[in-house]
């Protein structure tokens, strides 16, 4: 966090000129400076910055949307990124790992070569290029998919790019029982949900492509390693059926090396990706963070950074916790 402060406050970025624009005069300038407290001694600015973060007093944005609270900004931007991240992680998990396990269980077959080669291709296509290609192909989908128009296929969506509509689920009423507020009314729109998924899917595929590829490769290696281990041979010698061997003895052991990969990729869920969000015009956290950083919006950058750090630490703790579930050799005792 100190580094964030140093880079923003002592680097070449000037939030004041970003606020007043090229025409601002010196008087206006000093007025804004004193309002933001930029004339205070640097150590005072630093201590109040740190104290506010620790007490979760995240403040208001300076430049992007002046005066708007960071929490309210997060409330607007975060769900889009979470929605995008959710689908991209889901795609990576439910396509990458099964493919990898399939390839590992049938090594050196056509299916394995196909999956492995596909994994390398997915892994090596850069996101910015893949995103643009995806848009180009979908825009002219009638030409590529024998008259199937992506815009009208299933649910109709107006544009390929833009934020997914997230208002498919909402709470319409609250009842209060004692101190607890319990939502009493819901509404749910299947069509909007479908449109929302359809809107975010191309972006999610692009964002998940790299993790999908690496999960596939690592899943394959992990399965191959397990399947050639002595305890699998012992299990076979016991007369167990292939299904039990794969699901009981291979699967759980092969998941162990996959845990750090999966949790690392879950950072995508919160961090988002500037490139993918920009190409698909999804105004998410990645986009917000990038804008805040280049314009010197210190409270916003600092807060976002702080939240990311907290989530990463939390995720690592969760990862260690997962290890203790999967692998009894790792435990709390002793």
């Amino acid at each position: 966090m100190t580094m964030t402060f140093i880079i923003i406050r002592m680097g070449p970025i000037d939030p004041v000129s970003a606020i007043i624009g090229p025409e601002g005069g010196a008087a206006q300038r000093s007025q804004i400076e004193s309002r933001l407290g930029l004339n205070d001694p640097l150590w005072e600015q630093y201590t109040s910055f740190m104290w506010n973060l620790i007490t979760f007093n995240l403040g208001q944005s300076w430049v992007i949307q002046p005066g708007r609270g960071v929490y309210s900004l997060l409330g607007t931007y975060a769900p889009r990124t979470l929605w995008l991240g959710f689908w991209s992680v889901l795609i990576a998990l439910f396509v990458g790992i099964p493919l990898g396990f399939y390839a590992g269980l049938n090594p050196n077959t056509t299916g394995d070569y196909f999956a492995s080669f596909g994994g390398i291709v997915w892994r090596s296509m850069p996101n910015f290029w893949l995103a643009v290609m995806m848009l180009a192909v979908l825009r002219q989908s009638e030409r590529f998919f024998f008259g199937l128009d992506w815009h009208t296929f299933g649910v109709e969506i107006g544009s390929l790019v833009g934020q997914p509509p997230l208002d498919f689920f909402g709470v319409t009423g609250w009842t209060t029982i004692g101190l607890l507020s319990i939502p009493s009314g819901f509404y749910f729109s299947g069509t909007t949900l479908a449109a929302s998924i359809k809107q975010v899917l191309p972006a999610a595929i692009v964002l998940g492509s790299a993790s999908m590829g690496s999960e596939m490769r690592i899943g394959r290696t992990a399965v191959l390693e397990t399947i050639n281990s002595n305890y699998v041979e012992t299990a076979k010698a016991k007369g167990l059926s292939n299904r039990i061997i794969v699901w009981k003895h291979v699967f759980r052991n092969a998941l162990i090396p996959l845990v750090p990969i999966i949790t690392n990729e879950a950072f995508v869920l919160i961090g988002g990706s500037v490139i993918v969000e920009v190409v698909f015009s999804i105004n998410g956290l990645g986009y917000l963070f990038f804008q805040a950083a280049v314009q010197g919006d210190l409270p916003l950058v600092g807060s976002l950074m702080f939240i990311f750090v907290l989530l990463i630490v939390g995720m690592n703790i969760f990862q260690d916790f997962l290890y203790t579930i999967l692998d009894p050799r790792v435990g709390y005792e002793r």
Binding site: S229, N230, Y231, E233, T234, A235, K236, A237, K238, G239, L240, S241, I244, K248, H249, R252, N253, L326, D327, P328, R329
Partner: protein, 458 residues
Amino acid sequence: MMSMESPTEETTGRSEPIITVRNLQTAFFTDKEVIRAVDGVDFDIRPSETVGIVGESGSGKSVTARSIMGLVESPGRVLNGSSIRFQHTETVREFARRFPGRTVDLGALESEYDPAELFAHNAIDATPEAFGYDDASEATLTDFVGTGYGEALGLEADDCVFVTEGSTDEPRDGFVEITRLSGKPLRAMRGGRIAMVFQDPLTSLNPVYTVGNQIKEALRLHQGLSGNEATREAVDLLEAVGIPDARRRVAEYPHQFSGGMRQRAVIAMALACDPEVLICDEPTTALDVTIQAQILDLLEDLQAERDLAIMFITHDMGVIANVAHRVNVMYAGEIVETADVEPLFADPKHPYTRGLLASIPGRQSGDRLQTIEGNVPTPNEPATYCRFAPRCPEAFADCTEVHPVSLPVNDDVDDHTAACLLYPEDRSTPAAVERHADLDDSISEAGYDDGRTGGEDR
């Protein structure tokens, strides 16, 4: 290389063998070459007897064990002409009941086909000599169905239980042909009838499940036990293999066990289903000497208690002298010498056996440890010469020309055989060479060109 013991085995006064291995050939088909890891091996395993298999690394010991377990994996397979018969009436009864569609009455088949005429059948490329007979009329149907020629007799590809006496509903005697097993009966045989203990106890248990869980898995599979009953049985088993405080140990993970304890746990797991045969593939190699002695004692006790037939694989002659009743010495995929343990150690005949015994530390005369120079060759071509000849101190010109077959070492004994041109020792060497050459010529190379695999999907 056929042993001559099959027709005469009744004279030895032993009980009937539970496993009869005949002309077992297991080969690995790689892009470059065909490696004949096991090349025509014959031996028997009898109840409450320990059969030792010794040889250097790479001599085919483990592949032999895996072939019996049906654990040979692609690109390896058991070739046509190989036969591993499991002769146990109770098993035949149970299998005939559970897999009626795969049971065949050999008596009924016998009335349809005449074994002697079958050699002329198109699909059968075996010769009477390959089955160890001098004359076609001595062959029986058992030889054919057991050796991969069953299809020529109109058998289904998955028939594997053969009844020789009685009917398929009420079998009185018969055998299960292991090389024809696949799917369910194969898995019922593995673990349930033949269990195996692997080399490295440290890695043969799955690290993420408790020892009890892994023992109970076998109990559930073969005995249908579950819940508390299974736990109790697992505790009893752990106690039987000498693990103290078994009640607590049953809930512990393998990493909480020491090396010797893990091997005991693996043995407990193997015994979980009360198998008839236990195959031990170098079970003590990874353990230190005191633990090794304990494990060997344990195996001996268990054998006495349960009438186990044990096949014990090792490269340690000292261990073999301790545990085995009968010893097969393997070299480059072939059995070069077979004898009971006392005659083998007292009077080894094959130069390779002598070399092995001479290289035990403490047994030699000079200052330096004697060794056998060189390494085991990779058997990647049909044997047309003695594979040991390049390393043999007693090799002579014919050794590179004639492939020796297993023959009794002299006319007085029939249960001590050696595959060496120097034997039978009561004949002159040229006469012996001629006998070997005659017998070898007549053995066909069946099985390599095509064939039922029986290995791949196991």
